[in-house]
Symmetry: C2
Subunit: 321 residues, 2 copies
């Protein structure tokens, strides 16, 4: 059986989850794709992470070039997060003839065109299913199973932290500050929650969704973005009286050649499928001129759900190699 | 630009919808896949259908061999419905080296192994995304983006007619017979609604879902199946008191090597995402050991939604040709 060799940059939540899934489901994966997947090198300085996953210490390196320039590696998984040095690492890997898989929405949204062009130029694949909606396989569906459609509208609940906070405010009548503190204590929100609660994370994801659905790239910094930090119990109650729930919505709509877009809290009617997306769950609701309305729902974060999307991308590339 | 040639068996709802989408989105499709898709022949005796779609009369034939044995046709779309002669036609096409796409759940469920084996033997593709959940791209996701998962449970609302009837009984307090008559008058239910209301259609779809998710083929006739024709207003009210909605659920669960399965009305908690799937909408809710819970939601029937799935399959094959 042929072996496809992988290098992983970063064994944090998603990098670690990806390795765990490849080990946990090894037999099933080999049976399905008729190839072996082997992680041969990981960029990770924290040896506790390496040992905790059961990887031999010899697999770990602190020198990225041992992965990016290694002739035997077919696919590089970039799971470091942040725009740099991740983007430069991905470009180097692509230019060295390696396919790249990443969950890194900030890097994909910031350098979308450059990364895709490098993949085309080098005749390799660049996949980023995990960058929007974690484990939810919406990006692949938009590009493949739904690719006979012209898309007219995208709506998404794309951030688990803010959806958790809004759900608790709505269901339990608690105010924003108290729920945020509780979420931070439980590890659902970061110590500095700015990127989540101010909608910056969601803007990155909407930038990627628009690029795929409308073939229109808008830098995330140019998307009008309002977060949830100013939502009060009065807002929640006012929405309830209209039989609505407040959700942080990434929205883009195409009218002819014009695309309008925003990230902001919106009142969603209780009967709309997005109103039922609660707590840490995410959903992508998209309208095509053939399929009409479709919604994809699932976990937008977490080691194994997000790792599931990374592994899906790895296997798609491995099958075609 | 290379041209991929298609033959369509049957210009009914789905066959006609497929042709419509290929025409309506011609430019977008060509830009996306860098190939032209041309429908060169259709099996259809009703010339009104041919003319209504704007197809030249010379495209139409009443002799299936003009499609199944035509050397220039790359992909055959079987949209006749029913187990025979559809299954025989598909086997003939596969054995003649053509890839096959079908929305025909009855034929796929009845002859699953034979059809897939014929495709493998002839090194062609056999795709049937439209056979479960119409336009919802769940089958492709299970086989591709989610293929790093071992699946443990599948639940589906897979029939629009019965979901419409149950929704109206629940929301408007109307009894089964009255809603069925209304649905028939509106064209949402067939004159003979047996296959829908007794769960036979759903059992076909569950057979296909289990084959893909669990690699276990169970003939639809061996799936314990109960429809909705005996559901009373008392049942609906009893469910409401438990904060539940009654839905016709296709359910399969894997425990070790054992798979249990059934089609029957079930009480679904109001907070479960499947409870929010109303009227003619369908949904597939699947649990994997990495991704956890994922739901796919959309229109399970109709010319364009179902045609969207057929076109998605056509384009996947065309890209790889």
């Amino acid at each position: 059986m042929e072996t496809v060799k992988i290098g992983i940059l970063g064994l944090g939540t998603v990098g670690g989850g990806t390795y765990q899934i490849l080990e946990m489901n090894k037999e099933t994966i080999e049976k399905r794709i008729q190839k072996q997947i082997e992680v041969v090198k990981v960029l990770e300085k924290n040896m506790e992470r390496v040992k905790a996953l059961g990887l031999p210490e010899s697999c770990a390196t602190t020198n990225p070039d041992e992965i990016l320039c290694c002739p035997e590696i077919d696919i590089v998984v970039e799971a470091l997060g942040g725009i740099e040095p991740s983007s430069t690492f991905m470009l180097t890997a692509l230019n060295n003839g390696k396919s790249v898989v990443t969950p890194n929405k900030a890097a994909v949204a910031a350098n979308y065109a450059e990364l895709r062009e490098a993949a085309v130029k080098n005749d390799v694949e660049f996949r980023f299913e995990a960058s929007v909606g974690g484990g939810i396989p919406a990006l692949t569906a938009i590009q493949e199973a739904l690719c006979g459609n012209e898309f007219t509208e995208v709506m998404g609940i794309l951030n688990g932290t803010t959806n958790y906070i809004l759900t608790k405010m709505t269901d339990l009548g608690l105010n924003y500050d108290d729920v945020l503190k509780d979420a931070q204590a439980k590890g659902f929100a970061e110590a500095d929650p700015t990127a989540d609660v101010e909608g910056i994370d969601v803007a990155n994801k909407l930038s990627i969704l628009m690029a795929l659905a409308f073939d229109k790239y808008v830098p995330p910094t140019e998307i009008p973005t309002v977060g949830i930090s100013k939502i009060t119990m009065d807002d929640i109650e006012a929405a309830k009286e209209k039989h609505c729930k407040i959700k942080l919505i990434a929205h883009a709509k195409k009218d002819g050649d014009e695309v309008s877009y925003s990230v902001k809290p919106m009142e969603i009617d209780e009967t709309h499928p997005l109103a039922g997306v609660s707590n840490e769950f995410n959903a992508i609701y998209i309208t095509g001129n053939a399929v009409d309305e479709v919604m994809f729902y699932g976990k937008g974060a977490g080691a194994l759900p997000t790792g599931s999307a990374v592994v899906g991308d790895i296997l798609a590339i491995a099958k075609a190699l």
